[in-house]
């Protein structure tokens, strides 16, 4: 299967270069810190609550899982441009894109293969953070369902941003340009959410709807909202579709 071949090749080049290790190391460090901070905070609060004589035990899912997942979703905004910046820019610069395009492959096989490769690396990152979460089970019994939904949300959000990053990378030969532009777009998609707190005008609602982070909120609570799923999936489709158009235009102009 051509898509799998391309995907494997992508993963191979991630793990042959320092990118994968750098991103994974940084991610493990940051999420480990978030997790530690959230747990310590949770333990302190539960102790206080017990001393004040509250009978209801505090919810781990709400206090630890949700916080950590929300933090991870923001950290990913910064890591994803690093993962996608080389995806097409590098092949265009070195000329290997000519090999792919003149091989009996369809454009969509190349694009989806590459995107899946990046998504797999991203899933590895999430797997690293999941190790933290598993330690919770050694000391308590958190509900696994909100956790699973949270990770599903992270995967969807990552997939959407990776698709956007792939598109940006396909428009340039320069990795750094692709990285910086991808970073700007991710940042923008994050801060769009802030306007929702100003006033509830129709425009603000639209702008806020476009933000990737606002759609993650319900996932972090363990709720799968079809509105959010549709948002992420349509963003993936749009990103990959634009990449296909950009590849086509590259052939006309190059």
């Amino acid at each position: 299967m051509n898509i799998i071949t391309i995907c494997k090749k992508e993963l191979n080049s991630y793990f042959r270069s320092p990118i994968a290790y750098g991103v994974m190391g940084f991610f493990a460090l940051v999420t480990g810190y978030f997790f530690y901070a959230a747990v310590v905070f949770f333990v302190n609060r539960s102790l206080e609550a017990a001393m004040q004589g509250q009978s209801q035990p505090m919810n781990v899912d709400e206090w630890v899982v949700r916080n950590v997942l929300s933090n991870i979703s923001v950290v990913c905004l910064f890591l994803i441009p690093m993962m996608t910046m080389r995806i097409f820019a590098e092949e265009k610069r070195t000329g290997t894109i000519e090999l792919l395009v003149t091989s009996p492959l369809h454009d969509f096989e190349i694009i989806i293969g590459k995107w899946l490769g990046a998504l797999t690396l991203y899933a590895c990152l999430l797997g690293l953070s999941a190790v933290n979460m598993l330690t919770l089970y050694a000391y308590g019994t958190p509900d696994w369902r909100p956790l699973a939904v949270g990770y599903l949300g992270l995967l969807l959000q990552g997939g959407a941003l990776l698709a956007v990053g792939t598109f940006i990378s396909s428009t340039t030969k320069n990795q750094i340009v692709a990285g910086v532009a991808g970073f700007c777009v991710c940042l923008l998609l994050w801060v769009l959410d802030w306007v929702s707190s100003f006033e509830a005008s129709a425009l603000n609602k639209v702008i806020s709807y476009l933000s990737v982070v606002s759609h993650f909120e319900s996932f972090s609570k363990g709720v799968i909202d079809s509105k959010d799923v549709i948002y992420y999936i349509s963003m993936i489709v749009l990103g990959l579709f634009l990449t296909a158009r950009s590849m086509e235009s590259m052939r006309w102009r190059a």
Partner: protein, 330 residues
């Protein structure tokens, strides 16, 4: 095998390829000749389905590049100017990847990879990272990549550019070896290369087709006069000239300064004579009878380079190209 008709590629501001038509029959090696920026790469990119033509059509093995790109791609092996290799991959691993995307079935894939590695003499570096190989090796890995699916047509864009003279010879030999099984189009701006490897030449300049013929026909057809080079000693320049010009059939005598100035009264002359009359014996006799010393006398055939200059009328570009090309023994 390849049929190109009115192929045109137009960009926003200029025309890169302007209504080019030619045909290549099965098993031929065709040289694509032209100065830099003549439109060689663009034509090749259209043939390999990398970019669609603005106008006209191209057919490879009976399939149109626009209607049936998948079929065309299956039958073409393409080596772009810079070999499309992934520096972080090992040679065998890279060829395995290429074999997969060229849809070589699993059975026999490994065998085929070993075969092309032997063929292109890269088997000894099979487990080395491509990025750490020399330019010559990388070029051969690129060639291995192009022939791995045993394509009917091989398209090679400047296969010897940037190699040292030894590597150029190796690559040329390899291409000649491959000629039996594949139809080959190779582009170059180095003229001797075409004379050595190719059976036919397609000359383009500024996007336009200038000539397409066999190498012999081109050399023969354009040569109006026989040219003879002479080296004479022991006489006065003007006397020698005058004597030689009197010989029947000699139309022009020109003095060539020897490199490093005229030494020991030695004169180098170029004589243009009528093709029908063989002037060489008469020249020799005249010189000897006059008591001069004849050091050298040989006929010069018109080189492809001169043909090229005559056809394109673009002297500066070609001589600059030839000068910068290493190993171009002009």
């Amino acid at each position: 095998m390849i049929k190109v008709e009115g192929l045109t590629k137009r960009y926003a501001r200029h025309v890169a390829v302007d209504h080019i038509s030619f045909e290549v029959t099965k098993g031929q090696i065709v040289g694509f000749l032209g100065p830099n920026g003549a439109g060689k790469t663009t034509t090749m990119r259209m043939l390999t389905c990398f970019m669609p033509p603005t106008e006209g059509s191209a057919e490879v093995a009976g399939f149109d590049v626009q209607q049936n790109p998948m079929e065309v791609k299956r039958r073409i092996g393409y080596l772009p100017e810079t070999p499309p290799v992934y520096p972080e991959m090992e040679v065998a691993e890279y060829l395995d990847f290429v074999a997969r995307i060229k849809n070589i079935p699993k059975a026999g894939r490994q065998q085929r990879i070993n075969q092309v590695m032997e063929r292109c003499a890269v088997a000894d570096v099979r487990n080395k990272e491509i990025g750490k190989l020399s330019k010559g090796y990388r070029q051969r890995v690129g060639l291995a990549q192009a022939i791995i699916h045993n394509p009917d047509v091989l398209i090679l864009d400047e296969p010897t550019a940037g190699l040292d003279p030894h590597q150029i010879m190796e690559t040329r030999d390899l291409i000649k070896e491959l000629a039996g099984e594949h139809t080959i189009i190779l582009s170059t701006h180095i003229l001797p290369e075409v004379e050595q490897i190719c059976e036919r030449v397609v000359i383009i300049a500024k996007g336009k087709l200038v000539a397409t013929d066999t190498v012999e026909n081109l050399t023969r057809g354009l040569r109006g006069a026989e040219i003879v080079a002479l080296e004479v000693m022991g006489g006065d320049e003007s006397v020698i000239r005058e004597r030689l010009e009197r010989i029947a059939g000699v139309s022009k005598v020109t003095l060539k300064e020897p490199a490093g100035g005229p030494a020991h009264g030695m004169l180098r002359l170029t004589i243009e004579g009528d093709k029908a009359q063989n002037v060489r014996p008469e020249l020799a006799r005249a010189i000897v009878e006059s008591g001069w010393q004849l050091n050298e006398l040989h006929g010069m055939s018109m080189s492809l380079e001169e043909i090229f200059l005559e056809l394109t009328g673009d002297k500066t570009e070609v001589s600059a190209d030839a000068a910068e090309a290493p190993g171009a023994a002009l």
